[in-house]
Amino acid sequence: MNGNQKRINLLSLIIIFGVLITACGGGAPATQPPAATEAPAATQAPATEAPAATEAPATEATGKMFDGVTINILTFVGPQVAEPLQRRGPDFTALTGAKVNIITVPNSELYQKILTDATAGTNAYDGYLFAPAWIVDFAPAGLIEDLTPYVEKDKDLQWDDVAPFFRDFNSYNGKVYSIPLDGDMHMVYYRIDSLKDAGLEPPKTWDDYLAVAKALNGKDLNGDGEPDYGSCISKAPAQQSYWWIWSIAAPYIQSQGSSQGPFFNTKDMTPLVNNDAFKRALEVYKETGLYGPPDETNQGVGDSRGLFLAGRCALTMDWGDIGTLAIDKENSKVIDKTGAIENPGSTEVLDWNTGKLVPCDATTCPYAVDGVNHAPFASFGGWAGAVNAAVDQKKKDAAYAFFSYMSQPAQSNQDVTVGKTGYNPFRISQFTNKQAWLDAGFSQAAADSYLGGIEASLNSPNMAADLRIPKNHEYIQVELDRILSEYIAGDLTTDEAAQQLYDSWETITNDAGRDAQLTFYKGTLGQK
């Protein structure tokens, strides 16, 4: 190595050390203060400051109260659910000046995405349109804003017009944490014409459901000369199976009113799944597959919905979406042929002490109608908007104002009548004012049937609410989903599935703390 080469090496070393010293010495202070000062300000912003910011709700704004503010709202990929947000975002911008970005992810990733973003402190999203059942995970950790002060000041939201069940479902410990844009209730839909032609009545029990499905399976229901299906209830893993099964199981397990709850024994938090009632529900759910499309084990609700709207199914179970999609002149072959009823029930219910099914009587089924115990399942609880507690106040205000705007009757009473929104009625005025439904294209009979089905479920004294305790995602969407899909695939017997589910739920409960979980569970049922 010659002298020049040595000098170059020496010079290079000096430069490298110089750069390193500059980077370590000068860079760190430049980046740390914002992180140190911004984070506490954002996370510690007291909820009580909120009312001041919400004194002028979005729709009352005469100027552009959120000029220069951009809010990022995270939700499910849709196209339904996200569609109204995307469609009405520009209107909200015109009213308030706030720019709205809607970011979507697959439904199965939404929970994880929100929690990762919030717990890691990334806070890329200012609001979430999510499942209100998740509030119990998010609120105690301080990840979402207490919206009570906002709601109290917001006259345009008309909070009292929201049906009591949904007001409660969007609250935790007496505080409002999310604003409902949607009301969810499972119902059974049937083909009025097909049942009438076959001399069959809409099913009152799940046994009736199987009988009707069996009778109409293989018949041509849409006049194309091809055999169609008696029942379409999706069964794909990681889709909606874990909700359908509770719609079937609830009337077998819960009979003493909504405060009894179908998921756990309120004495000791043991799961109510390793008993004859849940096993019967498993069998019913699996048997519906015998009268469905051949690839039903790989179908999600979008597939079964499409088949019903194409006139290929005599029966299906769904949220309120089918009612509004069925009147779509472009895509529906079942206009004015679709009836809606509250979910079928059972003439036998679970004896919680013995784990056996016992016949319905005045004691065992105090809310039975004609000897049939119904327990309509408010599955999922409807999409609702929550605000990230860690973003700055202006963004919180704008995110709240946007959800309020979407939920207000002026917008939502129209959105719930349109099938592509994925939103179903949740306000009292949406049931009482049927003109909006007639304007949307419903016939009087279709509107009466559809709204009657939802109202009957919503007003049922034995309605079953979805699980709302910490780790509900793990109980339902992970463990139940896996075991249920293995059962449907024939990998597990009914007894094995019930036992495995019991064991896995016990593991989750033990990990999370039995007493704490029991207190949560009883709290959601209104028990002390």
Binding site: N9, L10, A141, A236, A489
Partner: protein, 380 residues
Amino acid sequence: MDTTATHEEQQPVRLHTIISSAADRLAGSVFILPAVLALLFLSLFPLIASLYVSLAKFDIAPGGFKLTFVGLNNYKKLFTGSEGTHFLGKFAPSTFITWLVFGAVVIGLGIFLARYVLNNRISIGGLIGRMLLALGLGSLTWMLVHTLWNGGRLGTASITLVYVFVGIFFQYILGLSLAMLTVQRLPGRRFFRVVFLLPMMITPVGVAYMFRMLTDTSKGPFTPIWQALGLINFSWVNNAWGARTAILIGDIWQWTPFMFIVLVAALESQPVEPVEAATVDGANSWQIFRHITWPAILPVSMTLMLIRLIEAFKIVDLPNVMTNGGPGTATQSLTYHAYINWRALNIGASAAVAYMLLFLVTFFAMIFVNLIRQRTVETL
């Protein structure tokens, strides 16, 4: 005077020389140090961090999250706890055939070990390595023979092995066949070379959606064919092996071009003289392939399979999109298993599955690397 002056002049020169020499010695290390540190940070830090996460429980806590150390609890769940059947599968009772197959493998492994021990070039490291290999292969055989039939059910570990070995086998055979075809002086061979490469250019999610449509017997483009065959009520996804076959077809379709393009290069780079000499000597096509072409492309083939093996262990897109991992858990790979846990924020359990995947990949990669080394030595 002169001497003193010279001495004074020499001082700075010596100092300069010392610094220059030190710089000279250190330069190489210092120049490479930032890159080494960055690489170590990027590769080791995630490995160590995820190892810790696999030994912890993730919980949401006020203002963020907390990780609680739980020891080997996440691994215990995978082998003996609630995740056992999901990970390892459902073990069927042992039968005569089970013992026969397992016994044959154990005898084979015993012979393999005995030959090494009787060899003069035995070493402690080599012996331990081979014993671990025998233990690993014996355990995997035990798992497979008890979950593949007779009422058993494959777990995500076995399903991944099926995807890897069945997939790579067919990809290699098809890739080699197509490569042999396109190196012939056939018309349109350039066009087909491009066409055969196309599947590799498509995103795996796109391939998965395409095969989901193709395998849909009631709404897919092949519906008329299924109808004509009277298979309208047949579904690939109602049956565990049907669903796995559908995923394997998609995977083979996508990755055969990778084998193809590398093997084309290998075939075209082999010297023509031995082939011409063999032809003159009257060798037929099979003899030329068996004794000239195959040895020539063997090192490339082994490397190719090693690359695909490492990659194939990570399969997730196809089962996720085509079957959602169903029916049941029949098409879930280890990556999908980890993904499900991650999706539910069971970060610890997810990391434990990922570590098991790492062990499996490393185990098979080591076997392959040793095979390649052995073959290379034999060739030389």
